[in-house]
Every structure is written in structure tokens, then in C-alpha cells.
């Protein structure tokens, strides 16, 4: 159960790291794309919106789900701690506390991923809205 716990731990943290990488790269890519998009080329508002909101949902998904994954890691960590406690019969307080503290770090990592993701998502959404408004004023509506 000990090594299983460590696998869970590293798996969760690695998953969160991957999510964070994806979210940030998409955010940067979107930001650059919005900078050089030519509104005039689009005849239809819907195609423009489709082009603009592409992959944005991924950031939103990551932002909303990262805390849950972190929480899952914590729960699994606590589970493994309790399991070892139960199987060993006696465990000193220090070991229990260390187990719990290490379990909590998964939640912290999840929040660390989620907060910037949500921030980026909102900023990009605002940018999308701005570009759509620009297109609308350009096309005289």
C-alpha cells in the first residue's frame, strides 16, 4: 500500500502538471492568435465566433476540474495513510501527520493549476467578446 500510495501521489501530481501545461500553452496560443486575427476576413459572425472560441473550452474544463483531481489525490493519500495505520496497528502521531500533510499537497497543486486556468479563461473570453463587438461595428450592425 505504501508504494501504491506513492504511485497515486505521483500520478495525480503528474496529471495536474500535464493539465497545467496544456492550459497554459492553449492560453498563450489563443492570446497570440487573437493578436493577429483579421476581423474583416470573416463574413459570418458565427464562423468568427467558432474560430475565436476554439479550444477555449479546454482551459475551462481544466480550470474547473483541477481542484477535483487534487482532491482525489488527497482522498487517496488519506486512504493509504489510514490503511497503513490499520494494518500496522500502531503508528506514531508524527507518521500520521506526515501522511496527511503529504496527501494535502495534491489539493494544493490542484488549486494552483485551477486558479490561473480560470483567470486565463475569463481574460480570453473578454477578448473574444471584444473581437466580436469589433466585427459587429465593422459590419455596421
Amino acid at each position: 500500500m505504501g508504494y501504491l500510495g506513492s504511485i497515486i501521489d505521483y500520478g495525480v501530481i503528474g496529471c495536474l502538471l500535464l493539465m497545467s501545461l496544456i492550459a497554459l500553452s492553449i492560453a498563450i496560443e489563443r492570446y497570440l492568435a487573437y493578436g493577429r486575427i483579421e476581423v474583416k476576413k470573416f463574413q459570418d459572425r458565427r464562423t468568427l465566433e467558432f474560430e475565436l472560441t476554439r479550444r477555449l473550452h479546454l482551459i475551462a474544463t481544466i480550470g474547473s476540474n483541477a481542484p477535483y483531481i487534487g482532491l482525489l489525490g488527497t482522498v487517496l493519500g488519506i486512504m493509504s495513510t489510514f490503511y497503513t495505520m490499520g494494518s500496522e496497528g500502531f503508528l506514531d502521531t508524527g507518521k500520521i501527520m506526515i501522511g496527511l500533510a503529504l496527501a494535502l499537497k495534491a489539493t494544493a497543486a490542484g488549486l494552483l493549476v485551477a486558479i490561473p486556468s480560470i483567470v486565463f479563461y475569463n481574460l480570453l473570453l473578454r477578448k473574444v467578446k471584444g473581437i466580436v463587438l469589433r466585427w459587429e461595428t465593422g459590419h455596421g450592425r
Binding site: L21, S25, I28, E29, L32, D92, G94
Partner: protein, 277 residues
């Protein structure tokens, strides 16, 4: 497409920067959590057959102001009280000569014949039941090791005191007005002082952070009622180990050493080991 590649690269770079900051910043590492053990070393094996030389000049000197004040002339008392710092130096000077495994044996050196004669001649007091030691008394060793004024001072004090020098090689008749002998023992020995309440030393925080371990050897003067009268550091250790050990000993309470069923004053050696695990 270009944007995507740029995004991936930039994202990777930012993550790498954050992670490296996390891993390589010394502040982020924190203090490693470690359990630690402090152990009072007690040897099971000991010999009552070959008792340690009981008297030493320094023991007497430190004991003098506390134990038998009334017996000492005023001038001598002053003298006995003042050179405390110097006495500690003396102890430390003696220390390296002692073999590491001879725990209590502050004095276990052969010493030149004339010195011994001189000491026994001057100090010359002795308890009848005191075990003999063929070679060496504390005073003799001190004088042998430390030439010059210090040694002679120690001898003078030892000599001028009428009160008990409990043990002395060379043999002399018991004097009158002799105080109870101060026995030299070691914790864990038979009839040695024992703990009533043993306060555990606090592991010094700095030492724990630096992952340092240490061993402190203290010598406690415990009077016949079990009160701690004096603490002498035989083997100091850095990082606050010595202070922690002394603090713990101060908080502890003791049962006095026993000789013939009666509590006697004694010097007891107490090694304390600070160990991390």
C-alpha cells in the same frame, strides 16, 4: 499552427521555471522532519572491585564552597570559589588524556612518584574504608599534567583543607573533623545515583536542522540528600547540546549514591547522547 508551437514552448518554459524555482530554492525545501532520540548511556558492565580514584583536586575545589564551607578558612574559601573558570579549563585539559572508553576515570594515569608522595604528604587525609588505588589521585594528576602555579594552587587547597579527602593513595591515617567522602561514580553503576525524575533534554533546533548529532558527558555533584549541587562538563558538544543537557539535568531529580546503605555525596558521570534517526 505557429501560434500553437509558440504556446507549447512558452508554456513549457514557464512551467520549467516555476518547478526549478520550487526545487532549487533552499527556502522551499523546508526543514526535513526527523524523529530523534536522546539516550542516557548506561553501561551494564562495571566493576566494583576496582573503584575509581575518588578524589581529584578539581572535584574538591568545586565541592569545597558548597559542601563543607565551615571547614575551610576564609581565605581558602575565597580561593576555592574564584578559580571556577580555571578549573573547567583544567578539566578540559585533562580530558584528552583519558582513554575514550574509561568512562568515569577522570584520573587513571600513572604519575610520577615524587608527585604522589608530595600529594599524599600534603593532603594526607583518608577514610579508613576507602578503597585503595595503586596509582594516582586526582590531585596528583592535576599537578602532573599542569605544571606551574595552577598545579601548586590545587595542591595547596587540597592540603590546607582539613576536611575529607576521601581517598588518597599512599595511605595516611584518618584525621579528625573529616567530612563525608565524595564518591566518584557513574550512572548505571551499583550504588550510583539514579534518577527519580529524568527530564529529557530538548534536541537543539539548530542541531536538528543541520542534522548534527552529539555526545555530552556531564559530571554531576549530587549531595547525600539527592540534591544536584554542581554540574561539570567533561565532554562538551557544539550546537547547544551541552546547554540542553545541563538544562535537562537541572530539571531532573535524583536519588543519592549509597555507601553502606547511607546516602553520600558523589560525583556521577552521565554521558548523554543526542542522536537523529
Amino acid at each position: 499552427m505557429n501560434d500553437r508551437i509558440a504556446g507549447i514552448i512558452l508554456s513549457g518554459a514557464i512551467h520549467a521555471a516555476c518547478l526549478s524555482l520550487l526545487f532549487f530554492l533552499p527556502a522551499a525545501k523546508g526543514v526535513p522532519i526527523k524523529t530523534f532520540h536522546i539516550r542516557f548511556e548506561q553501561r551494564e558492565t562495571f566493576s566494583t572491585e576496582a573503584p575509581k580514584p575518588v578524589t581529584s583536586a578539581k572535584g574538591e575545589k568545586t565541592a569545597a564552597p558548597k559542601g563543607r564551607r565551615e571547614a575551610i578558612p576564609k581565605a581558602e574559601e575565597k580561593r576555592a570559589m574564584t578559580p571556577v573558570a580555571r578549573e573547567n579549563e583544567v578539566v578540559e585539559e585533562i580530558n584528552p588524556v583519558i582513554p575514550a572508553d574509561s568512562g568515569t576515570a577522570v584520573v587513571s594515569l600513572p604519575n610520577p612518584e615524587p608527585q604522589r608522595v608530595a600529594v599524599s604528604g600534603i593532603a594526607g587525609s583518608k577514610t579508613a574504608e576507602a578503597p585503595m588505588n595503586p596509582v594516582g589521585s586526582g590531585a596528583a594528576v592535576v599537578s602532573a599534567l599542569i605544571p606551574g602555579p595552577q598545579g601548586t594552587a590545587g595542591l595547596e587547597i587540597a592540603g590546607s583543607k582539613t576536611s575529607g579527602v576521601p581517598l588518597n593513595p599512599g595511605g595516611a591515617s584518618p584525621r579528625k573533623g573529616e567530612g563525608p567522602p565524595i564518591v566518584e561514580t557513574k550512572f548505571g553503576e551499583l550504588d550510583a545515583p539514579t534518577f527519580i525524575h529524568r527530564a529529557m533534554p530538548v534536541y537543539p533546533r539548530a542541531a536538528r536542522r543541520l542534522e548534527k548529532e552529539g555526545r555530552v558527558v556531564l559530571k554531576l555533584l549530587i549531595d547525600h540528600a539527592g540534591n544536584l549541587r554542581s554540574v561539570e562538563v567533561i565532554e562538551p558538544a557544539p550546537f547547544g547540546f551541552t546547554e540542553a543537557a545541563i538544562e535537562a539535568v537541572r530539571k531532573s531529580t535524583f536519588v543519592p549514591a549509597r555507601r553502606n546503605g547511607e546516602g553520600v555525596s558523589s560525583w556521577a558521570v552521565l554521558p548523554i547522547r543526542f542522536r537523529l534517526e
